[in-house]
């Protein structure tokens, strides 16, 4: 078996992997990065006009993972048989160099301070009895203040466009009044509001709420980032989510980090390399490297390394830990183990307003990260005491560019014909005159919602698929219903001709066929104790100290905000501690 030696091996060429690779190279360590998908080059694949193709892009999933090779199985409860997720629908993982970071939308948030220590905060404000039985509410083990320099660092690499509220304790602008103080402004000015977002901004203000510009990793003007790499100005082309940005204005690992590594002789990127497992020594307390399948030669190879970074995306990271025997697998019946525990998602519903016949919403205009939001009902920004649920949702208009096939599948709304007579009229009215609003909310962790290995189905590499046991719980359904009720005054202030509010129903089961987002989280969470976390506060495995697991797998709860900004900050945070402490003295960074 061919073997190669390096200081650091990184699994996955997405945001987490690219950040760790750059940091480890700056620390003078050699890096091999393994990506199971193909090379992705915007300069060839993403050119105009060939990539401006809704069918090839968002519908046939050009840049997404192909489930034919490997997928997951899904069930709602432990009493069911999980069945394979045979067709991509509810969540759309990426694959190839850049990962989901190439095709994402670009909404780029800093985690709310309360969300990072939600357990402590809820107990302080509402008492321990407020936490329902069976909810695994936990703190991250790191505070907003500790992460602030890394949120800032990530924004400067991404070229994030936004408007600040408070800098070093002083109010400086029209930003999110609920946002914490920052050490610096955004690297770029906020993106312009599209027509629908501007209407939402005014209506939200009229309704007494506090709208602000969504922080967007879409460049509002030309930008050269921290690594000397250039971004072009976003032209709101609307082919954002699901596409490689032909204007080079959506931040991606491909544009914002990897070009700084391509000419570096001590950085090696191997594509079509599917990692089968992390290899451990005989004590199983130290990783020796990884074994991967070279898919071009159809041969297994190994990389030997001193440091192994899992950066393969939330659920692939957990899958690899289970396949490799890193950490104790979680068992919901005995409530023991941590790998697979606290599997979380987000609780999202869409509402729609139809405006007058002389207001054309031009829904095809948009940028993935741009829009207007309000946080009045997010996190713990409102009194939960009388409400009896934990969590919240930002509410926003985030018009990324609606294209006709997606619009046609949705048709004219809930009460319109789905085909045949009247279908086209309803579709045209909805496409030309409506706007969509999301309640994009948190999702808590529960004892019986988790990840493990499937007993029946295998992938094309012969390994058991990861099994997801997931459904909506009453706490989050009540939260969603409450927040969506708060949208109604905005609909009235918009003077909408008619509107539909989208809510989760009591007892509604998670439906794998309906697109939600790909903001899955948890499964290998960070924390302060190995009894309820798989990673310490530096995202280092409690069990195998030369393994770090970087991704939203570290989140103990699903937050209302999009996760990428926090994933990037945690990646820079972990890298900082690897550089300043771990490399000089390898071993556990947190004493047990």
């Amino acid at each position: 078996m061919t073997s190669k030696r390096t200081d650091v091996v990184i699994i996955g060429a997405g945001w987490a992997g690219a950040i760790l690779a750059k940091e480890m190279r700056e620390a003078g360590r050699s890096v091999v990065m393994l990506e199971r998908g193909p090379e992705r080059s915007t300069a060839t694949e993403g050119t105009y006009p060939g990539s401006i193709d809704e069918l090839r892009g968002a519908i046939r999933h050009r840049l997404f993972q192909n489930p034919a090779k490997t997928t997951v199985t899904i069930r709602n409860t432990v009493n069911q048989t999980a069945l394979p997720y045979r067709q991509l629908a509810a969540f759309l993982p990426g694959e190839g160099v850049g990962g989901a970071g190439l095709h994402w939308s670009g909404v780029h948030f800093r985690a709310a301070p309360d969300d990072l220590r939600l357990r402590s905060h809820v107990i302080d404000r509402y008492g321990a009895k407020f936490i329902p039985e069976g909810m695994n509410l936990q703190d991250y083990g790191v505070t907003y203040e500790e992460l602030e320099p890394f949120f800032d660092k990530a924004e400067k690499v991404f070229g994030t466009s936004g408007e600040a509220y408070k800098i070093n304790g002083q109010i400086v602008g029209n930003g999110n009044v609920f946002s914490p103080s920052r050490s610096d402004k955004f690297p770029l000015p906020a993106m312009q509001d599209v027509y629908t977002a501007s209407l939402f901004r005014k209506a939200a203000s009229d309704a007494g709420y506090h709208p602000y510009a969504l922080p967007a990793a879409n460049a509002s003007m030309q930008y050269t980032n921290t690594y000397g790499l250039q971004m072009g100005p976003c032209n709101f082309c609307g082919y954002c989510s699901g596409y490689d940005c032909y204007m080079y204005s959506k931040a991606s690992p491909n544009i914002n980090i990897l070009p700084a590594l391509r000419d570096d002789n001590d950085f090696t990127l191997i594509t079509d390399a599917h990692v089968l497992k992390v290899n451990l020594d005989s004590d199983r307390r130290k990783a020796t490297g990884v074994t991967y399948l070279d898919q071009r030669e159809n041969r297994e190879k190994t990389i030997e390394a001193d440091l192994v970074i899992l950066a393969a995306f939330q659920f692939h990271n957990v899958h690899l830990m289970l396949l490799s025997g890193i950490g104790k697998p979680y068992d919901p019946i005995s409530n023991t183990g941590v790998v697979g525990r606290n599997f979380v998602y987000q609780t999202i519903t869409t509402s729609r307003a139809w405006l007058s016949g002389n207001q054309f919403t031009n829904q095809f205009v948009g940028a993935g990260g741009a829009g207007v939001a309000l946080d009045d009902f997010n996190s713990d920004n409102f009194d939960h005491g009388p409400l009896g649920f934990v969590g919240g949702s930002p509410i926003w208009v985030n018009q990324a560019g609606v294209k006709p096939i997606a619009a046609a599948m949705n048709g004219g709304g809930k009460s319109a014909p789905r085909w045949g007579a009247g279908y086209k009229a309803g579709l045209v009215d909805t496409y030309r005159h409506s706007l969509a609003m999301d309640a994009h909310g948190s999702n808590m962790a529960y004892r019986d919602v988790y990840l493990d290995l499937d007993p029946t189905w295998r992938d094309s590499y012969g390994q058991p698929l990861l099994r997801m046991t997931f459904t909506w719980k009453e706490n989050d359904i009540r939260m969603n219903q409450y927040v969506v009720g708060k949208i109604e005054p905005i609909m009235k202030a918009l003077d909408a001709r008619r509107y539909e509010l989208g809510r989760l129903e009591h007892g509604e089961a998670f439906d794998t066929r309906r697109y939600q987002t790909t903001h899955l989280g948890g499964g290998a969470v960070m924390g302060t104790s190995p009894t309820d976390s798989a990673l310490n506060r530096y995202l280092q495995s409690w069990d195998v100290s030369n393994v770090f697991v970087i991704g939203s797998n570290a989140f103990p709860q699903g937050m209302g905000y999009n996760p990428t900004g926090t994933v990037a900050a945690l990646a820079y945070w972990a890298a900082h501690h690897i550089r300043t402490t771990y490399l000089a003295q390898p071993g556990p960074l947190v004493a047990l």
């Binding site: 401006i52 899904i74 067709q87 599209v194 609307g238 031009n362 095809f364 006709p404 046609a408 085909w419």
Partner: protein, 230 residues
Amino acid sequence: MSAPSSSRRRFVKNAAGTTAFLLLAGHDFAARAAAAARLDDKPVFFTPDEMRFLNAACDCIFPHDDLGPGASALGVPTFIDRQMNTPYGRGELWYMAGPFQDGPANLGYQLPFAPQDLYRKGIAGANHYARTERGKDFADLHVEEQIEILTAFEGGAVHFQELNARLFFEQLRRNTLEGAFSDPIHGGNRNMEGWILLAFPGARADFMDWVNQEGAAYPFGPVSISGQKA
């Protein structure tokens, strides 16, 4: 109807042309557009009878009306036909490993059938149902009866031999809408009439000056990847 040997030759020639077209890299759009123009509308996958079904059924789903042309005039059946000879049509974008087990609808599709198979079995099942219930193949019935049959399929109570009729109906609806609204390079949305219906600008993808025009309608017609203008 021409002699079998010459139609077989035509089928093979068209299939070879189609395969070459589809093997062209996605970003090589100019070559793809040129190849698309060379293809005629002779089906490459479906039989003439299957095409008759598609012409009728797709027109029920997306009819001709005051607002614009229906599915057959837009080339939707041609689009679907070509899609069958793609990785999608062959089921290569789905996890198709067994075992195959039934489950609740919300856990998604669990049959071993690729889109090619869904259409073969679905069209046969639909015609069998039409002959049994109404005495004729689907395409030979009046539009009102065709609509009643599709409504029954959508309702979920009808079962073909190997699949539920609703599953076939949803596949057909989905591919019909794709055929009406995808770039003409894929065989449908002829003359961009699907986009014109929605006032969608196609592949313009540049709205620097149109971020917010206070509710005014975007004034420019569509362009396609290959440079067609309306």
